[in-house]
């Protein structure tokens, strides 16, 4: 069974004033795969995330998610249709507990809002306890259930990064965009993060991953796309991308993260 394309970028261009952050980028992410997006700093990787999630309106080109165009959709609607992300710098809701952070996300598919909450309607109560159950399950899946009642800003860095992933998963996405999830991790932490991402994918999610650590990327990705100066210069199996002279040139030969 061939996997269908879940996210498609066609000739995507993003221009800020005189700067072309993305230039005619074409990318197809297949359902169920772990696709890595790599490239030197400033290549436009986070810009891709920002355009897909609706933070920026693309200058031109198409973005299709499950066949439907995302152009012009508001950010929270894009999230509702099944795309969620994490951020390069951790951006949790610091004053809320880990559980509450995830709950904010699980709320997205709930129908009852203020009126339901105020008058404690049966539906509101049902949705609330279902959300809590789901959030707790996600925290367990990610491995930070012991932190559920701690304030997000008090969590150790590693758990904060994991919480961001948990929170994104709270929205029941089909596609997860992870922006440098392993930044600042030591090698063994990176290894377990890699295992976590594979576990996530195996549970039915598609992952598009921005990362700088080549060994992590090579380990878990099904496919690697390389951006440089806003253009895609390679898109292939990890091994083949590693040996691609254009890629090596773009990076000036930095094979693995030296952290």
């Amino acid at each position: 069974m061939t996997n269908s394309v879940i996210l498609e970028l066609k000739d995507l261009t993003m221009q800020f004033g005189g700067v072309k952050a993305l230039n005619q980028v074409n990318l197809s992410v297949k359902k169920g795969e772990i696709c890595a997006l790599i490239g030197p700093n400033g290549a436009g990787k986070t810009t891709v995330f920002n355009v897909v999630t609706g933070v920026y309106k693309p200058t031109s080109g198409e973005i299709n998610f499950n066949g439907l165009s995302l152009k012009g959709k508001s950010r929270h609607r894009i999230t509702k249709s099944g795309i969620a992300r994490t951020f390069q710098n951790v951006r949790l809701f610091g004053d809320m507990t880990a559980l509450e952070n995830v709950l904010t996300a699980t709320d997205v598919h709930n129908r009852s809002g203020l009126i339901g909450a105020m008058f404690t309607t049966p539906r509101s109560r049902r949705e609330e306890s279902a959300s809590r159950k789901k959030a707790q399950e996600i925290l367990e899946f990610i491995g930070i259930a012991n932190r559920s009642d701690q304030l997000a800003r008090n969590l150790p860095y590693g758990d904060q990064r994991r919480l961001e992933i948990a929170r994104a998963m709270g929205t029941s996405p089909q596609l997860l965009l992870l922006d440098e999830p392993a930044a600042g991790f030591n090698p063994s932490e990176k290894k377990s993060l890699g295992e976590l991402i594979v576990k996530i994918r195996n549970s039915g999610y598609t992952v598009l991953l921005i990362e700088h650590d080549m060994s992590l990327v090579m380990d878990i990705s099904d496919r690697v796309a390389v951006l440089d100066f806003g253009e895609k210069i390679a898109d292939d199996l990890p091994k083949l991308v590693q040996d691609n002279p254009k890629v090596i040139e773009a990076y000036l030969g930095v094979p693995a993260d030296a952290s």
């Binding site: 999630t53 950010r75 929270h76 969620a84 809701f93 809320m96 509450e100 997205v108 105020m118």
Partner: protein
């Protein structure tokens, strides 16, 4: 501070079981209702009868502070025109009450509805703006409404509206000059209802949405929170509370004019929220009670009231931006209990 009042209170609450909590709440409520008894004591206010002070400014401002708290404290929307909703409630009571011959209780839902409507309209117009811009625009709107009212003969212009009726005798309680405590108890009931509403909203989706908006609204939006809708709700909720206060104020005061609804009042309420602890219900109540009571008790402070409020804002923001009783971790404890 070695002794953290907030945590102390939160711990007592957390350690109590359901019956103990009901008992504690009951004690608090009884104590609040009994405050008029303090009239004969040291707490008495020199120039105005103590019980009347309990209603205005203490009770009314506390109620409004709770409303503004949802907007500013919980959701992080700096509204400098909050007095407008108070005015809408009061003018509804004054105008509709007279023309439709409705008594205070009948006009109350109308006052609240009109205030909510103005909150909706204002919010829809301005809530796409952020931070400082929102503050200035709301300030601008507040002043535009006041100046327009000042120049509109149809609603009394600068003369205002007079002869607004007191509430009728209800359940045997009379609302007149000899019974100021009736007003106080009424506003106390309204405060209690508002507290209950805020609490239940806080531990559910709206509360989370507001917190997320306050902390990082861009990320909140990306996590699927409909920030525009919830900002509107915060506004509308705050407006409803302000409007309710306005209706009761008009009925007690019997006379209103645009000069009562000055920018000053919006700043007062903001000062209460900031001083007490943004987002924290008890902090806000404490702040409102202290800051509205003390100028009444100490006369010379009364003249310098605004001066002190200005100082309060500066000092609190610089030394203790979280307020007297900072925002709490009580949600942490709440989430252990089943929903009641």
């Amino acid at each position: 501070m070695a002794f953290n009042l907030r945590d102390f209170g939160a711990n007592i609450w957390a350690k109590s079981n359901k019956w103990q909590r009901y008992l504690l709440a009951l004690i608090f409520i009884i104590a609040a209702f009994s405050l008029p008894l303090l009239e004969k004591t040291f707490f008495n206010t020199p120039n105005t009868p103590f019980v009347s002070v309990l209603f205005y400014p203490i009770g009314l401002y506390t109620l409004m502070a709770l409303g503004l708290n949802v907007v500013v404290g919980k959701s992080g929307l700096l509204d400098l025109g909050y007095v407008a909703f108070y005015a809408v409630g009061a003018y509804t009571a004054g105008l509709l009450g007279a023309s439709l011959k409705l008594n205070t209780w009948e006009v109350m839902p109308l006052g609240i509805a009109f205030a909510m409507l103005s909150g909706l309209i204002l919010g829809a117009a301005v809530l796409r703006l952020k931070g400082d811009y929102l503050a200035i625009v709301t300030l601008g709107f507040g002043e535009i409404i006041r100046i327009t009212a000042l120049n509109t003969p149809a609603i009394g212009a600068s003369m205002g509206i007079t002869n607004i009726a007191n509430p009728p005798t209800t359940f045997g309680f009379k609302y007149d000059l000899d019974h100021p405590e009736s007003y106080y108890w009424t506003i106390l009931i309204m405060i209690i209802i508002t507290i209950m509403a805020i609490r239940i909203l806080s531990i559910r989706r709206p509360g989370r949405a507001w917190e997320a908006i306050r902390q990082d609204e861009d990320v909140a939006e990306l996590m699927g929170v409909n920030i525009y809708k919830y900002k509107l709700w915060a506004f509308v909720f705050g407006a409803a509370v302000g409007g309710a206060a306005g209706v009761l104020f008009a009925s007690e005061s019997m006379f209103i004019s645009p000069n009562i609804f000055k920018l000053e009042v919006s700043i007062f309420i903001l000062a209460f929220v900031v001083f007490g602890g943004m987002g924290n219900i008890w902090g806000v109540i404490l702040g409102a009670v202290l800051l509205s009571y003390i100028p009444e008790r100490i006369r010379f402070i009364s003249d310098a009231r605004m001066l002190i409020f200005g100082l309060v804002l500066i000092i609190m923001m610089n030394l203790r931006p979280d307020g007297l009783l900072p925002r709490k971790k009580r949600e942490k404890i709440k989430s252990d209990k089943k929903d009641s």
